[in-house]
Subunit: 251 residues, 4 copies
């Protein structure tokens, strides 16, 4: 019997702007990464999304991003380590207050977008983020890219690390994601499901070079912003079911 | 033996911009209201200010403002009650995380600028703020304008309310502050000190009309952004000393 | 032969967030009010929307809003007259640069949301906005609420004023819009079209009290954010056609 | 007879925050680079600074920065070429409107902080900025790092390029600035003045390696945020005077 967590980025609306099918995705996942007002979201959205997660028994994580609403946190920004650490503390604290207000708890943290991608390749940056988590909320699980330097940073700081895999992205031989700009970077839906099942059950994935590499899968990242996505998650859930994989929150 | 708390707004710098004599004011006060990134401050400043307060044994409060950095939170904004409540939760949470990270605690909340002034005259708004406090951090003291509708809102919500007085501002007969635009709104430094001493020891102040009114003084608001201010606080401390008033944090 | 302009608020997307059916609405209107980055939009969206308007032969106006992205410029904010004036100059200038870059021209200005509603009732505020327009771009048409104090402010400043009417909103006897919170504030689509035709051809509309009032209609505001809206504009265009009303840009 | 322009970054205050000795520096310089609301400044400050420059007969340039107020535009951000181009157009337009409103003209553009430093080493980025200038305001002089790739980008786009030198910074042999983090990066005031005079009169400067390199000096960047700075500018002006160098705006 295997097990896997399904995580999705939620609560990315902002003011008058709506993004994502939060209400439809939430019953299908086990962990929600909720934006904290830096790259997306605002306090009204945060409260609403925390309640939605709580009502659906989904674990809540802080999705901490760059202070770049105009770029949705997807643009590389060069922060100092002090900034990376304190921006993490600020955002965790803000979301945790909504968890407290709703009588639920904050379970994990996952950096967002460019913050995630930069930290996956930069030990010092990853460590600064982990220091922030450690200082304000030591019990949070750190959810990061499987096989990346984030894992070492989290363990060095004394945090629990869980490995995230992507169903729709190709991997390089070193376990990093193939840049979206390269051909073959995205995996089609039909190919994606058996790929993920193999990651979970065998701990292997075929890299873009054709060679098998090792990969650890504690949680699969699924998307929440397209009707095709809902279909994909349902198919993935069925495939897990028939492969003796239990869909269960990380712990 | 009387007692009084001295509170000051600190941590109002932002990025490259420095404001206030935080390091010089902090040894002279007992409570610091720290900005939370909405009307002023950023995470780097917040961490630094929390540490400064902790190192000086000064109690920490969340100084929650409007999301209006350009206007420094001093412009009236019409929020919904949901916005007022959730903006309060967000800012308290963010600051509390820095208190947790520094191993100290958050003691009180005081709305800032136009948020404070509007709430002092609008029960629903004051109540929405108090609801936010109650939901995420019920143990916080609510520091608000002495004699204002904020007190009722705080008590109705089950919060502890403490009454703030201003040394340098004239009062109307109904206990509200005389608008800054009116003549006589500001009190000169020499007159201010005996005025405050009387508020503390007699519970009275002469309104702008010349009539004495009742006033409750748990905490005096002092300013932190001018060298004259430091002198004023020192004189106020001496006057308290000679009037048998103990300077002590609210509790 | 009568004539009428059809204006619509466009370019209200922001970064990752998309709002409005700009591409579908634009062939159906004659004037586009384009957001300028304060209440909505960003430079990439502004450039794209200016090009879209130019390609469709639609006149371009600056839709100047409050600096409140989180509230979409819909929350009342109390600005100084200097702020109202300079915020207007800033936003007009930014949009005009995109017009210059696209080889087209800026034709009008219309304040947005709460800025519009507050200025419609506050001569000083309306005048400050008009002063800003006058100082940087004197030739722009000022598009404002029909019968409101904006008209006097514009004329006093030496600007050309054009009167905007709303198809879907009820009017008070004094010509102001019935607050959205009141029952009967919104007009159903079927009733809206003959109402507008009457405003154009007779200069009259039935107020919410049942009494006819005078109204001047140079331009009708239509919405751009719902599929029903496209249908409504098409019906309105047909009704104009059969009523001998030419749909033509303001001048 | 030689000639040189003295430029300074001004108008970097924001809302309640004051930065720089604008009023004292302005009589000592010939070109003012004025912040445009992205990395610093707001419309009230922009209007005030444009008037100050006009009243002192100082030429005005748009100091265009990253949309990063919290980082004062000093943090590297990876923009798309479309973003770099349109952010430039937006900021130029906004500032130009204040020039129009004040009856003066916009003369040049100089990217700010990290935007400048990144563009000095990245032709595509520099070219995107120049394209923006070319599209909306073709007559502006582009003021950039002497000897950098910015010059080629400006000339390729058809803009006039002027070469900026720094009195207080060491140069690498390739003409780039020595990173501030390296020892010897900053030049002391006493050494700085003969260094600048030599750049202007001989077109040479000693690189950090000790070797002389060629350098073109159309304009010297002086600072505006410290009392020592005012003294330095006065000494530089005297040294120019005794070296037969006329201080004159770029053209």
């Amino acid at each position: 019997m295997y097990k896997i967590d399904l995580n999705c980025d939620l609560g990315e609306s902002f003011g008058r702007y709506t993004l994502g099918l939060d209400g439809e995705v939430i019953p299908l996942i086990t962990s929600a990464n909720i934006a904290c007002g830096y790259h997306a979201s605002d306090p009204v959205i945060m409260e609403k999304t925390v309640k939605l997660a709580k009502d659906n028994g989904v674990h809540i994580g802080a999705h901490t991003g760059f202070p770049d609403l105009m770029g949705f946190g997807r643009r590389n920004m060069v922060l100092t380590m002090q900034e990376a650490r304190t921006y993490t503390i600020y955002q965790i604290g803000a979301l945790k207050a909504f968890c407290d207000a709703s009588g639920t708890k904050l379970s994990h943290i996952k950096p967002h977008g460019a913050f995630y991608n930069m930290a996956a390749k930069d030990y010092d940056l990853a460590h600064a983020i982990c220091e922030g988590v450690h200082q304000c909320c030591n019990e949070l699980i750190f959810l990061g890219l499987s096989g990346s330097i984030m894992e070492k940073a989290a363990l060095d700081t004394g945090l629990i690390f869980k490995s995230e895999v992507f169903a729709d992205r190709a991997y390089e031989e070193d376990g990093s994601l193939v840049a979206r700009s390269k051909p073959g970077a995205m995996i089609e839906d039909e190919a994606a499901i058996p790929r993920v099942i193999r990651m979970i059950t065998e701990g292997k994935v075929k890299a873009i070079t054709g060679r098998d590499i090792d990969i650890k899968a504690d949680s699969v990242c699924v998307h929440g912003d397209g009707p095709k996505t809902l279909e994909f998650i349902k198919l993935l859930r069925e495939a897990c079911n028939t492969s003796d994989i239990k869909i269960e929150v990380m712990s």
